[in-house]
Symmetry: C2
Subunit: 500 residues, 2 copies
């Protein structure tokens, strides 16, 4: 029995299949998922084009209702979904339950934004026929949907950034059909959520092909989708390597299309001497918890802890060490991620001191930290690469100037954090250095935990994302799948509804 | 005597020079302009980085005042500027005077947007410390400047899209230093306007290096600028070929940066049978005037006139023919553009019927049209390429269905126009077909004449621009040089001024 690719309201098999793996045992799960071949891809895209012609005429409340039903159908999957997602990812059921709440919350947030129109950017300029030297035309502008989009799902968010996650929900919300490339490490979770979406589409008589999901791997399925002229934009959440490959493919199309990729981030955390003096242990506890949360598999995991050398620095480090040594070893999301994590630590341990490093190949991984001086960090290129998993580099800087040199050696970041005391004379210049590379700045807190709010920015300069203007969280994410169109001197009867 | 490159408040020579050409005589103008070499480029970029650290802290009103002074200084150049721009471009002085008004108007519009803050996208979410299961943080978000940007100037807008044009004005308005690549066909105009900008910078004590302008050619100077890590974004207005080369270079940087390129457009105009029945001659007159205005050297020139076959179609065509035959031959902006124009007509005349085509190589060019059937257009690839200059293809379609097939064979467009009568049963489907490829739709009008207004969209899907979300006209253009940053749980004293 092989689960087929979902192409609108039909299903199709390719010629081969893939299987999920239970990362806690590293054994294949029983179910097989058919890998999409060219014919399957072609059919999904053809249907998406046809669906767009119908779906783009749906009224905002219709799209909102569809999203609300998807949310409801996901909840209706109950424990089946929670258990499957936990099984395929190794993430605890409690975490999956929390992520499900976020996923459903996002669907409802986008539904609400579309229903109320609060995300829209409508402009109306009335004509001035008497204006000299030339009459002013009547001009009105709105955002319209781009067309069919492809979404690559994230291994570390099997619900919130996968099949009905933020990218899919925001694209459907504005009027775009979506083709989801299922993640090969949680295909069963994908199938369950896809079923909830298809059921919702049927309930609302959505056009056939509005939603499809295909199984396969990035280099074949992914590249075929990115290169197809019927695809008008791409959403991605994942590694730098995969995200950059997608960007490069889209940029070399005969007609380049927008790619909204959220990639890696080191999430530097600066701890000033004043903060260390005041509460070294508190900070060590907080950052230790943040870097090990979810086995360090968050894009906002604090990967660099940059401390201003200080008599209390050792207290911070011992709190941090205690935390990582007392954290239970856990499986990672999949075997590839685990292998990469262990390889990174092995390579780094040849160059520098890695604490709590365990080279034995096991299923569960231990958190670890590396400890370097500011000079060593600045000279060691490999320390500038993100290590995905429960690992951080602690950088002991001579002074605040070296902290700023370290920060200016980094690429774009999703977040930048400062722990300090008000009135510390270094605050402004460190905040400025963090601001110049980051999308979100945090004062005396941890970067993990991305609040879903209008004022959130979850994005940043390259390489944290592919375009610094767009974020993947909050209603601003809706804009990514749209473009503005102006209507000049249009008769009322042919104007779009919300420009009348 | 060689005019040097302007690098902030100093000037520098390279090892070679270029000269402007009077296109009405095709003879070199006397003045020489030094071509920037690597050392000059390096110095301009270093200064821009230093200037950014200071300029980004300027208050909005300071930036607004600077723009207003630039506008004033440009006006103060008086006839000297008008005459020089006319001499270098072959455009009449009246056109240059009008364009100067637009340029000054844009500077003031951006100054006003920045002074009032009406372009900003600020969000504030207050903390909810009691929220369950997790407290909600205080989150605030604003747009900040990207850093030094490079602007490529346009041959066809020596003022409004050149040295102090829309891209430069919008970048300076939000806080970005600018390096302008002077256009090799109007270097003297560039030098005059650059002087006005530098004087304004001095008057307002702007940091050294906020504005630089370098002379040279795209493949050397342009590529060096695009590839430099100190450059954070690029603005461009010009041909598809040059724009695509810039996009490709930026996309293959180790750290790709945003490119905002406004490139070619065919600007299809559909004329329905109902419109033709009602006023064939009026439409022919209007489109004939639009396609020959400014010797057809506008990005919004109507390059395709798609007519539904009809008993009055010949009236339209004879009005159009009369207009092009009665239009005086005029020089084009530069000899390269003229050669390309003549070569395009020569090539097309081998494949199809070109009316008013004059193969003799002269300085002045005559407007011309090609006349093809819908079938012929769909089969002839060369007819899908933009011909920059006073030329249009008239496509006689069998029926409205063929019109829609013609439209769906086109790439992205800046504009799409429909001439029709209200109540024509084809209107909705033709508007839909135009909307799916265009950034601006025009009802019973001409695409030339881009109103500068908030509700204008001057942009569109590729290849008309590099990114469908952004436009180059109106206050939306400001966003291109910015990115959002969120501040989480920040003490009031460290929050940016406008988020307090």
């Amino acid at each position: 029995m092989v689960t087929e690719n979902i192409i609108g309201y039909s299903t199709k098999s390719g010629h081969s299949f893939l299987q999920g793996v239970d990362p806690s045992t590293e054994t294949y799960l029983e179910e097989k998922f058919s890998i999409a071949d060219q014919a399957v891809i072609h059919e999904a895209l053809d249907k998406a084009v046809d669906a767009f012609a119908i779906y783009k005429k749906w009224k905002p409340f219709q799209r909102a209702d569809l999203l609300d039903t998807i949310a409801q159908n996901i909840m209706n999957l109950g424990d089946t979904l929670v258990k499957r997602a936990s099984l395929e990812t190794g993430l605890p059921e409690a975490r999956i339950t929390g992520e499900r709440a976020r996923t459903v919350g996002q669907l409802k947030m986008f539904a609400n934004a579309v229903r109320t129109g609060k995300w829209e950017e409508n402009f109306i300029d009335h004509a001035e026929p008497e204006r000299q030297p030339l009459p002013k035309p009547d001009l009105r502008k709105q955002l319209i949907a781009l067309g069919p989009v492809v979404v690559f799902t994230a291994s570390n968010f099997p619900l919130a950034y996968s099949t009905a996650g933020g990218d899919v929900a925001s694209a459907l919300a504005v009027g775009c059909p979506v083709i989801v490339k299922a993640h090969e490490s949680h295909p069963g979770t994908n199938a369950l959520v896809a079923g909830a979406i298809v059921d919702a589409c049927k309930q609302h008589h959505a056009p056939d092909g509005l939603f499809s999901t295909l199984y396969g791997y990035g280099p074949e399925l992914g590249q075929a989708l990115i290169k197809d002229p019927r695809v008008k934009a791409v959403g991605f959440t994942g590694s730098y390597r995969a995200g950059r490959a997608i960007m490069d493919s889209a940029a070399t199309r005969p007609d380049p299309i927008p790619v909204y990729a959220e990639m890696g981030s080191l999430n530097p955390v600066v701890i000033t001497a004043s903060a260390m003096q005041a509460r070294a242990q508190t900070i060590g506890d907080a950052l230790g918890a943040s870097m090990t949360m979810g086995t360090g598999q968050f894009c906002t995991k604090p990967g660099l802890m940059i401390i201003e050398e200080n008599s209390k620095a050792d207290d911070f480090i011992s709190a941090l060490e205690k935390k990582i040594e007392s954290t239970a070893a856990l499986p990672m999301l999949n075997t590839r991620i685990k292998s990469n994590f262990l390889k990174s630590l092995t390579d780094l341990s040849k160059e520098t001191k890695v604490i709590n490093y365990n080279a034995e190949p096991k299923i569960q991984v231990h958190p670890a930290i590396a400890m370097v001086s500011g000079d060593e960090f600045l000279l060691t290129h490999s320390l500038h690469d993100e290590v995905f998993g429960p690992f951080a580099v602690v950088i002991r800087c001579k002074n605040a100037d070296q902290i700023k040199r370290v920060l200016s050696s980094l690429g774009g970041q999703l977040t930048g954090t400062i722990w300090s005391e008000p009135g510390d004379s270094q605050n402004e210049s460190i905040i400025e250095a963090l601001e110049s590379i980051s999308g979100r700045l945090i004062w005396n807190g941890v970067p993990t935990g991305v609040e879903v709010a209008d004022s959130m920015m979850h994005g940043g300069p390259f390489p944290s994302t592919s375009h610094p203007f767009f974020g993947a969280v909050g209603i601003g994410a809706l804009k990514r799948w749209t473009r503005p169109v102006a209507y000049q001197n249009f008769p009322m009867e042919y104007l779009p509804h919300n420009l009348k």
